[in-house]
């Protein structure tokens, strides 16, 4: 097992523990070493401590005073007692008597002190040495005779090198030493507790989004695309979750589109099979009728032949529409767009087709206006749109005649084309389905010859190719209105 195989929670806990544990250990090690080194070694180390730490006794000030006197004694001529006065006071404050001699003559003697006693004490401790400092736990003795000036400085007193602590001082010191341990221990416990708390907090913040991600991935694997992560933080994990959520939405969209395509494909196949098999059955039936001798008279045989021809034409039309539809669906039909003035185009169309449509029972109404609105059209494809729409109105007319009103209306950057008929119309809920391939409002798909259900699907494809939109409405008073919105490329008043 590798480190990366251990859970993030355990790794985080371990990392945070180490982050606390190692500094605490080092702190303890250094503290123990320093304490042991300073407390349990010899007196020399203690004295060094005292020398470095003047609060512990008079050592440093006495040392300075002695050094200063030695330096002043080295100056040639008669020593200047005024300059030495400050050093005398320091020594005398510690109970050390001082005297200065030159040529056996006493130049200075601590008031109240006996010169003989001082000389005796110095000789006893320092011997005949011309420069010596002795300072132990009982007494202080200093003797120096300058080889340059011949000035002699002697100092002696009963003062211990280390200040003796009183019982109260020792008690205070013990108290503070204990307090140091208590504070140190408390600090360590606090640091560890704080580390554990922070690592738990951090691991929670990391693991919660990860758990949400894991759950969402599991749901998506089961096919449930509606599970939202709900992590809204702005950190790296939050951004990861949001990216995952975007991916989920895209997947859902793609899945829905795929399902819709699949449904369309099924409907298309079902539509093709039905609409081709019905006329084919008729063709087969009529041919059998002739072969079986059912059509006994010549007139009957001719009728059967005509029926076979009609059904073949129906199938040919269906296959042709299917071919156009599939080419449009696969973007295989190139659009040759050209600017067309739509008011003039409609006026010409109405004029040209009026009589032809009238023969088929369709009255085309259009009120020309003197406006100049230009749109981009592929003339051949748009002609197919108009033919399919008018053909549709003829197929679903009520009675013998039908009236179709062409309308043009400018709407901001678009022009709205409307084809309102007074035919049998379509129920409100059926309107959005009209442009689906092989869709017919009649569930029995009664008369294949009436329509393949591809006419409006082809119209929709062409309008989409012209960057337009199409929808169906009910005509007020009955009938169906098809509306098309096309973008305007140029407009003149």
């Amino acid at each position: 097992m590798q480190i990366r195989d251990i859970s993030v929670k355990k790794r985080l806990l371990f990392a945070n523990f180490m982050m606390v544990f190692i500094p605490v250990c080092l702190l303890l090690l250094i503290g123990t070493a320093a304490y042991t080194g300073l407390r349990f070694t010899g007196a020399a180390q203690q004295r060094e401590l005292v020398m470095l730490w003047p609060d512990k006794g008079p050592a440093l000030s006495v040392q300075f005073a002695v050094s200063s006197l030695r330096a002043r004694a080295d100056k040639k001529g008669v020593p200047k007692l005024r300059d030495m006065q400050e050093d005398f006071q320091i020594l005398e404050a510690q109970g050390i008597s001082t005297m200065v001699l030159k040529d056996r003559q006493v130049l200075y003697l601590t008031p109240g002190a006996d010169s003989g006693t001082i000389q005796e004490a110095v000789r006893k401790s320092c011997g005949d040495s011309s420069s010596m400092l002795v300072w132990n736990d009982d007494e202080f003795a200093f003797g120096y005779t300058s080889p340059r000036s011949g000035t002699t400085i002697l100092a002696a007193g009963s003062v211990a090198f280390l200040a003796k602590d009183s019982a109260q001082d020792r008690s205070n010191r013990d108290f503070w030493e204990n307090m140091v341990f208590v504070i140190l221990g408390t600090a360590i416990v606090f640091i560890i507790a704080w580390g554990i708390y922070l690592s738990r907090l951090l691991s929670g913040q990391i693991l919660e989004p990860l758990a949400a991600l894991r759950l969402a991935a599991s749901e998506i694997r089961k096919g449930n695309m509606d599970v939202s992560l709900g992590v809204r933080t702005q950190d790296e994990l939050g951004e990861t979750c949001q990216a995952f959520d975007r991916m989920r939405r895209e997947l859902k969209k793609a899945k829905d589109t795929q399902e819709r395509y699949e449904q369309n494909r099924k409907e298309l196949i079902a539509g093709i099979s039905h609409d081709l098999s019905t006329p084919l059955t008729s063709v087969k039936g009529y041919a059998s009728g002739i072969l079986d001798g059912i059509a006994k008279t010549q007139a009957k045989q001719r009728h059967y032949m005509e029926m076979i021809y009609q059904k073949a034409c129906t199938m040919e039309k269906l296959v042709e529409n299917l071919f156009i539809f599939s080419k449009l669906d696969l973007d295989r039909i190139p659009f040759h767009l050209e600017p067309v003035e739509i008011y003039g185009y409609f006026a010409d169309f109405a004029e040209d087709r009026k009589s032809f449509l009238a023969e088929r029972g369709l009255e085309l109404c259009f009120q020309p206006e003197h406006r100049q609105v230009t749109v981009l059209l592929d003339r051949i494809q748009f002609q197919r749109v108009l033919e399919n729409l008018l053909e549709n109105s003829i197929k679903y007319k009520q009675g013998e005649a039908i009236r179709v009103s062409l309308g043009l209306e400018k709407q901001a950057a678009h022009v709205k084309l409307s084809f309102a008929d007074n035919g049998i119309g379509v129920a409100e809920e059926e309107l959005p389905k009209l442009f689906r391939s092989f869709y017919r409002t009649d569930p029995a798909r009664t008369n294949v010859a009436k329509g393949s259900g591809l006419g409006l699907a082809i119209v929709r494809q062409i309008i989409a190719g012209l960057q337009g939109t199409i929808w169906a409405e009910q005509t007020p008073g009955g009938g169906l209105t098809i509306c098309i919105l096309l973008p305007i490329v140029e407009e003149k008043a």
């Binding site: 008729s282 039936g285 009728g289 059509a295 009609q310 029995a444 009664t446």
Partner: protein, 75 residues
């Protein structure tokens, strides 16, 4: 002569079926709508009922079930 009610919405197929049946000396009555067909089947006297499945009005299967429920006859 046996009497048959033919419910078929495709006019061409209905005519063809009628020709075949009449060639076998059977009298055929054609109805193009499912609802009308069921009404006729329930009110008239026929020896055989021929129904298309996909019909405008009421589809063939539903009409057959309703007919069989109201009359005890082979289906």
């Amino acid at each position: 002569m046996k009497k048959i009610l033919l419910v078929e919405d495709d006019k061409g197929i209905a005519e063809l079926e009628r020709d075949y049946l009449e060639a076998s000396d059977l009298a055929v009555e054609i109805v193009a709508d499912g609802t009308e067909g069921l009404r006729k089947a329930l009110t008239g006297i026929y020896d055989l009922l021929l129904l298309d499945v996909m019909l405008p009005g009421a589809d063939g299967s539903r009409s057959a079930v309703r007919f069989v429920r109201s009359r005890s006859c082979p289906f």
